[in-house]
Symmetry: C2
């Protein structure tokens, strides 16, 4: 068995639901990509990230590399996902990629470098290397976790109306979610709490919505057992 030199990179799939409360069309889930200026794969779109530094662990590295693209404070959740290790996944020297899921709240409007922008996940551009399956995998994980964790806190503004929350869940899940049931599921699990205040009515009138916020802004599993839960 030979052990050639192996580089290690981190790549982040950073999602944001964009177009909330804009009044124009439905909000949609977007992913942060930058366009390659040089070969290989010039012109194609890449996930932010880069080579792991000598003295950092993976999470530190992702945070450092994302700081070039978006303000760190905007990233409300960051979590390790799968490793992509095909020896031929990128040309040149062998590089193993650890992928991360990053979430940015809807309200945030980070300044972006000129080569970087948000793309709707429903219509991804031509992507470099194996970055497209990475986005798809991250999207699958996000959708699954919305159903049994409080991960929504990382996609929403601090305070929000239930209808806004519904729009965000719809965009991230890709199907219609009923606002009433969403409210009750999350209230029952004590994931969201009423703030007590209300927002203004929209342009077309209507009752002013009560504002909610996530009870905790730390990732937590809220429904661990689909079945076979411990007795009692």
């Amino acid at each position: 068995m030979t052990y050639g030199s192996t580089a290690h990179e981190v790549l982040a799939v950073v999602f944001q639901v964009r177009g909330v409360d804009s009044g124009e069309g439905q909000p949609a889930l977007h992913v942060l990509l930058w366009q390659r200026a040089l070969d290989p794969e010039r012109g194609r779109w890449s996930l932010p990230g880069g080579r792991l530094g000598h003295d950092e662990d993976l999470t530190t590295s992702v945070r450092r590399q994302l700081a070039e693209k978006v303000d760190l404070r905007e990233i409300a959740h960051l979590e390790q996902l799968a490793v992509f290790s095909d020896p031929a996944r990128v040309p040149g020297g062998r590089t193993i990629a650890s992928t991360f899921l990053g979430l940015v709240p809807s309200a945030a409007t980070p300044a972006l470098p000129s080569d970087t922008c948000w793309h709707p996940v429903s219509e991804l551009p031509e992507m470099a290397f194996d970055h497209r399956p990475m986005v798809e995998h991250a999207h699958t994980r996000l959708a699954a976790k919305l159903s049994y964790t409080n991960i929504g806190f990382a996609l929403t503004p601090t305070d929000f109306a239930i209808s806004t929350l519904r729009d965000i869940y719809c965009a991230a899940l890709g199907y219609q979610v009923d606002a009433t049931n969403l409210q009750r599921v999350l209230e029952r699990r004590n994931v969201i709490t009423r703030t007590g205040s209300t927002a203004r009515s929209g342009r077309a009138g209507g009752r002013p919505p009560a504002l909610y916020r996530f009870t905790e802004s730390r990732y937590r599993v809220t429904d661990e057992f689909a079945a076979l839960r411990p007795p009692g």
Copy 2:
């Protein structure tokens, strides 16, 4: 930012439920460990694995390295888990570890090298480096997945009685599971199927148990949505 040389290793947390149908005591979840003969950490117990080869992906590497410890055909399920990347996690050169979850059916009795044996997860020995948290993490993942996937197929013999299945679930989960409910949950989800045949009664008599098998012996999520499932 400096990029020193970085090695990459794979480590497998291989579980088996041992002591099923032995008549002696309760079966227990065991993990496969080998004892280090040399420094560093001489005498402590390690997870099987080793350095990633130049031309293999992670899964190939784990399979290759496990082949030295157990027969490949005995490993019914193998899946990537977390990466451990603390720069100081092992002495010497920097080494990133990708961990895997491996499962061996109860009936299998693989021949083991002399430095290798099964240890009950409930009383782990002194372990080398950061291997203990790796075992704990893998155990947590296994327990969670037993509740919403068909992953049990990789822990059981091909054909089994429900009471045997219950013993295996109890050992892996660490709490009591009701055989009746286990049967119905898995039948409803079409995870297990009756074979039509029955086993013999045990030494103390009793009705002969019907035999079941897992409908599919490929990993599958059987209860994707804890809540917020798509309409319809």
